[in-house]
Every structure is written in C-alpha cells, then in structure tokens.
Subunit: 82 residues, 2 copies
C-alpha cells in the first residue's frame, strides 16, 4: 500500500476566478501581505502495490484521463511521505 | 515573495462521495490496483514577505477562516520548495 498524490492546478495562463475571489476577500477579513491565490484540486490515491515507476506511470495516465483536463490544467504526481 | 501551499482534505471519518465516484470509475476505464481515492483542495498562496513562522501563522488563520471548513475538513500548511 502506498499513497500517491496528484495535484491539479489551472495552467498559469488560465484565469483563476476562484483564486482571485479568495485573494480579494482576504483584506476584508483582516489579512494583508498576500499577492495572489490560486485554487486547484488534490487527489490522494491509495494504490495496492508499491509506488514504483510503473505504478506512478499508471497514476499519471489516470490523471490525464480522469483527474485533470489537460487543455486547461497541469498536474503533478508525487509519492506521499508516510 | 514565497509560495505557501494549503492542502484541504475531508476528515477521514467524513464520506467523500467525489473520491468514491472516481475510485469506482477507474476499473471501467481500465485502471486496476487502486484501493481508494480522496479528493480535496489545494491552494497556492503567494505571500509578499518571507515564509517565516509569523507568515505561516497568518496563512493558518486564513485556512481556518476562509479556505477550510474545520468542522468537516483538515488542512496542512507547507512552504513550496522553489
């Protein structure tokens, strides 16, 4: 059993309206010093075997097929440290 | 300028219907060997100063106030390695 993390974020050139809304709300809530916020998705994928290169390739294919829209989103796959 | 990452996940005892839907879709798409998927949110917060302990405390307060619903969600705050 291993846990693999897939982080999916909008590509930098795509407008992130949710992130902008958060960044604009912060001063109203008394928080200063934040220049930008971007919001994305995080997936924790528990795999049955070890997190070897073959398993990570499978997870990358899952991310491309199902978890991310690669037209507008980038993703990264990392192994969670236990 | 530093980038601080806030990861927000449903607490383990809360049913994650989105994650379950993904886990159930995977075999239909030809992926095997995944025992569970949990979906959460990832925020990339750009702060103006350095990511020192005071700045991280501010981000933790932001997470509690605005980014996470601490009744049902847990969050972690980490500094992105550049």
């Amino acid at each position: 059993m291993a846990r693999v993390i897939v982080d999916v974020m909008l590509k930098p050139e795509i407008l992130d309206a949710q992130g902008q809304a958060i960044a604009r709300a912060l001063p109203r809530l008394g928080f200063s010093g934040v220049s930008s916020v971007r919001q994305g998705k995080r997936f924790e994928v528990e795999i049955e075997g070890p997190a070897d290169e073959a398993a990570l390739d499978e997870v990358r294919k899952m991310a491309e097929t199902l978890l991310a829209n690669t037209v507008i989103e980038d993703f990264t796959v990392t192994v969670a440290d236990e």
